[in-house]
Amino acid sequence: MNIPTNLKYTKDHEWFRLEGDCAYVGITDFAQSELGEIVFVEIETVGETLNAGETFGTVEAVKTVSDLFLPVSGEVLEANPLLEDQPGLVNSDPYGEGWMVKIRVKNMAETETLLTAEAYRSLIA
């Protein structure tokens, strides 16, 4: 299972990559593998400011629909435009082209609560 060490994680299987005061968010390799083929990603919260743990979108596999939770509080700046026509990127490249949203982090202190790669690995073990 691919769990890059430069990322932070949540118990809900999102990953979080900080870049300055912004961050990219997606779902983990484990999550995409559990869900199976992703056929639809819906994110309609661009422009909204959400609290940590709030739903920023949904991801649908053939058989299931799952909510996507924001790892930390912030403003949703952008949704990955590629996913509208190529939701399968979440399967093929979950940490790269399969990213889901870019956010502006509201409170940097919250990022300290996220899981390290090691902690996430033991969570899914």
Binding site: G36, T58, E60, V62
Partner: protein
């Protein structure tokens, strides 16, 4: 958890396993549900459906008993043929849906849903005032479904029985892949054509291995329960627990065509069904396609597109062949007409949909 003769094989093949009706079953293999679905639509795939239940009903009173507990006209079922049925529950609902095979004179095989085996067994025993001889063979019969347009050609390489002479919803008993006493039935739950094989569990692995040796040139793949569900849904086939259950009327569910209370049968709830058919019902099961982008799911509300709830989704998915959202659901009868524009309430939006007549797969 219960296993089938193929459980170890599924695990070795890397299938995602999940509990279903008490059995450890493959949901999907490594290529995923969409690939498996398209394999069955265009080629051939094999499903382990050994979890299904099998009951024998025998003796001089078997027919009279079945005419009471089964919805369809069993008297019209010749030896060698199969027939779709449901068990009415005495309260206007459905105990289960099933296939009845007329195996020999005074001997019938009932194939029921895995999740209902115990309930059905108790039910038929409780109704057996006719004194038919009942036998639960669920643990002593395994089943594989070989489905798809290439199924007949592939299976023919493993048997001398001329498969093309077995019409739809008919069966024969014989030898296939060196295994004797196999029920070879031209039936299935996919709409893609093919056969269902019933056999003794100890021959399961032999049959599986021979199938896959012979299947290589045909691109045979194992198919999980995930694609089994999307395949049946594209055909508009009902699933017990979703479209039908102890509280749903068969007339509302569109099962009038297998409800034959008038043909000299003492059918449980027969008068009620006749009344419902004559008087009409307040809601009906329909198929619908999404016009807007989205995927309907079980339990989502159906609306008139203007905020008024008119029903509920019983099954929904993204159609793997058409790449649109499709579903089945109950709507108030005025909205059940083919072509009616309705909507599916998905996350506070009303997504446009249209009532259609399944199959969704053209």
């Amino acid at each position: 958890m219960k296993t089938t003769p193929f459980t170890d094989i599924h695990i070795a093949l890397g299938a995602k396993m999940h509990e279903f009706a008490g059995y450890n079953m493959p949901i999907e293999y490594t290529t995923g549900i969409i690939d498996e679905h398209l394999t069955v639509v265009n080629g051939v795939g094999v499903f382990d459906v050994s979890h299904m239940g099998e009951f024998w009903v025998k003796g001089a009173n078997a027919l009279q008993f079945l005419q009471k507990i089964c919805s369809n006209n069993i008297a019209a079922l010749p030896i060698g043929k199969a027939q779709y049925n449901f068990f009415p529950n005495g309260k206007g609902g459905i105990v289960d849906d099933l296939i009845v095979y007329h195996y020999e004179p005074e001997k019938y095989l009932l194939v029921v849903n895995a999740a209902n085996i115990e309930k059905d067994w108790e039910w038929i025993n409780s109704q057996n005032s006719e004194g038919a001889e009942l036998e639960n063979s669920s643990d002593n019969m395994a089943q594989l479904a070989i489905q798809g347009p290439k199924a007949a050609e592939q299976l023919q390489t493993l048997t001398d029985i001329p498969l093309s002479e077995i019409p739809y919803y008919s069966f024969t008993v014989g030898s296939i892949a060196g295994v004797d006493n196999v029920i070879i039935s031209n039936t299935g739950y996919t709409g893609a054509g093919g056969y269902e094989l019933y056999f003794y569990p100890q021959f399961g692995q032999q049959l599986w291995n021979k199938l896959f040796e012979a299947g290589e040139p045909f691109g045979l793949k194992p198919i999980g329960l995930g694609a089994r569900d999307t395949l049946r849904l594209e055909m508009g086939f009902l699933l017990y627990g979703n479209e039908i259950d102890e509280t749903t009327s068969p007339i509302e569910a569109g099962l009038g065509w297998i409800t034959k209370p008038a043909e000299g049968k003492n059918l449980i709830d027969g008068d009620l069904f006749t009344h419902q058919r004559t008087e009409g019902v307040a809601k009906k099961l329909v198929g619908f396609e999404l016009i807007d982008r989205g995927i309907p799911r079980t339990g989502y509300e159906l609306t008139d597109g203007k905020g008024k709830t008119i029903g509920r989704v019983t099954s929904g998915t993204l159609s793997p062949t058409r790449k649109i959202g499709i579903g089945l659901g109950y709507v108030e009868t005025p909205y059940a007409k083919i072509g009616t524009e309705i909507a599916v309430a998905i996350r506070n939006k009303e997504l446009k949909a249209i009532v259609v007549k399944p199959p969704f797969r053209k």
